[in-house]
Amino acid sequence: MVLVKAKKLSVWEKLFFWPLVKGLWTTFSQIFHKKVTRLYPEQRLESFPEMKGHPVLVRRPDGKPRCVACGLCEFACPPVAIYIEGHEIDDEIERAPKVFEIDNTRCIQCGFCEESCPKEAIVISHRVEFGAEKREDLIYDLETLLVDEHEVEDRLDYIRKTFERWKT
């Protein structure tokens, strides 16, 4: 056990006059310091590939969705946020989604749908801003979810490298 005795202060030291002045100077000089706040929404966080936002559907070069409405993502989704209705179309790839809804009030942005998709059709994007005024606005339909491939390129790169590791 260490016994520490409090130092006896002289009368001048007890006034704490000089420490007060130094303290006041310290606080004053901090006014000119660089601020640590990030001024959102003018300054946003940079996205990086690993960042998980909301899932989106990728288009093929001709504009149609890559999705073939197989239902694997619907099955894999833990909170059952995806609802798919597929139908036959007259095209090289004969099946496409008629209705594809992701309920954002349920989606937890876990990425299971992305992992389960055999066609790289549903990919996690960097969309993280979901403000809406009505609940109905938060159920995203096919049109809202479709994006071009170049928007999610970094994520596609990342998942290919990651899933490579799981291949036996």
């Binding site: 006041l24 310290t26 606080t27 901090q30 660089k34 601020k35 706040t37 001024l39």
Partner: protein
């Protein structure tokens, strides 16, 4: 009272009252901005350019809040208390001179709302009334936190009233008059005539006492936010709370104005006052100098608030009674002796 005097008084009342209310808004904004800058963050900067319209947003928000009176509260006193906390501060501003006399036509108008011959006495008396507001607020809320806060506030304010009064006595001995205007006039001959140089200890005592009187850190035990929820104004909401809020800021303004008039030379600035201006231009310049000095002291209030930790209650009382009161008495004694021997 002639017409010119009447119009002048009304104008002065409007100017002073308007300046007080305006300074409340400015203080609300500046406190948040300056404190934020000291903490490496931005304060409110969204509401207008640089967040300048923030006080309006604050006031609107406070007006729209639900105004509730607790079941256990004593209604009459509950409603009266905020007014009693705010009104004395405004009344104190009535005797504060913010300039010399202006000559208009054949009338001399002093730039004080009421040039009372016993200005200092009036100030001390009215200033003590604000204690009632706090203690009644604390008691009438019907809640134990508020009662504790109210008791602490009362004890603190009473203890530091004595030091305040005695510090002022030193100035009275020098100025030889109770009228605030004459005390300020006596300091306008030069910067070395400012009472701060002739009464340095008195100035420091007055400074500390004013911090304690306005319940401002490091003496803000009554509203210690982390200890007593909100102390004596816990149960207040909406406009009543706004009154306490404003009352505190106006008390700060009144205290700073007092400090400027009694110790810092009133409306005198070394180079500006020697320019020899006449008429109403001189009045305006003097008022601006006065306001600038008050502003500097208010900035000091804010600066100290965000630098120094709060006093513990027993430390506070010990400081007031065992250290400041004897020092104030010694100050009066020494000043009286020096004045008697003609040195000061």
């Amino acid at each position: 009272m002639s017409t010119v005097e009447l119009i002048a008084t009304v104008a002065k009342v409007l100017v002073v009252f308007g300046a007080c209310l305006g300074s409340v808004a400015v203080l609300v904004y500046l406190e948040r901005r300056v404190s934020a800058f000291m903490q490496w963050r931005y304060g409110p900067n969204r509401v207008g350019p640089f967040g300048l319209l923030q006080p309006i947003a604050d006031l609107t928000k406070l007006m729209f809040k639900e105004d509730l009176i607790p079941r256990e509260a004593y209604k009459l006193f509950f409603v009266l208390a905020p007014v009693m906390a705010m009104a004395p501060s405004f009344m104190m501003m009535a005797v504060v001179p913010f300039g010399d006399a202006i000559v208009v036509g054949d009338e001399t108008i002093p730039l004080v709302i009421a040039d009372v011959g016993m200005g200092v006495l009036f100030l001390l008396a009215i200033g003590s009334l604000s204690v009632y507001g706090l203690s009644i607020a604390g008691w009438s809320s019907g809640s134990k936190f508020s009662l504790m806060g109210g008791m602490r506030a009362t004890a603190q304010m009473i203890s530091y009233e004595l030091t305040l009064g005695l510090a002022i006595v030193g100035v009275l001995l020098l100025g030889d008059s109770f009228s605030l205007r004459e005390i300020a006039l006596a300091q306008t001959s030069g910067i070395l005539e400012w009472n701060i140089f002739q009464q340095p200890l008195g100035f420091i005592l007055f400074l500390i006492a004013i911090f304690a009187e306005t319940n401002r850190l490091p003496f803000d035990m009554p509203e210690a936010e982390s200890e007593l929820v909100s102390g004596y104004h816990t149960e207040y909401s909406s406009m009543k709370f706004a009154f306490f809020f404003m009352g505190e800021y106006v008390a700060m303004v009144a205290g700073s104005s007092l400090m400027v008039v009694l110790f810092l030379g009133g409306w005198h600035l070394p180079f500006v006052s020697e320019l020899g201006l006449e008429g109403w231009i001189a009045g305006v310049v003097q008022a601006v100098c006065f306001a600038a000095k008050v502003f500097v002291i208010l900035m000091f209030f804010i600066h100290v608030r965000w630098t120094i930790p709060r006093f513990r209650y027993d430390q506070l009382m010990a400081l007031g009674w065992k250290i400041l009161l004897p020092l104030a008495l010694i100050n009066v004694l020494v000043t009286a002796v020096l004045v008697a021997y003609g040195i000061l």
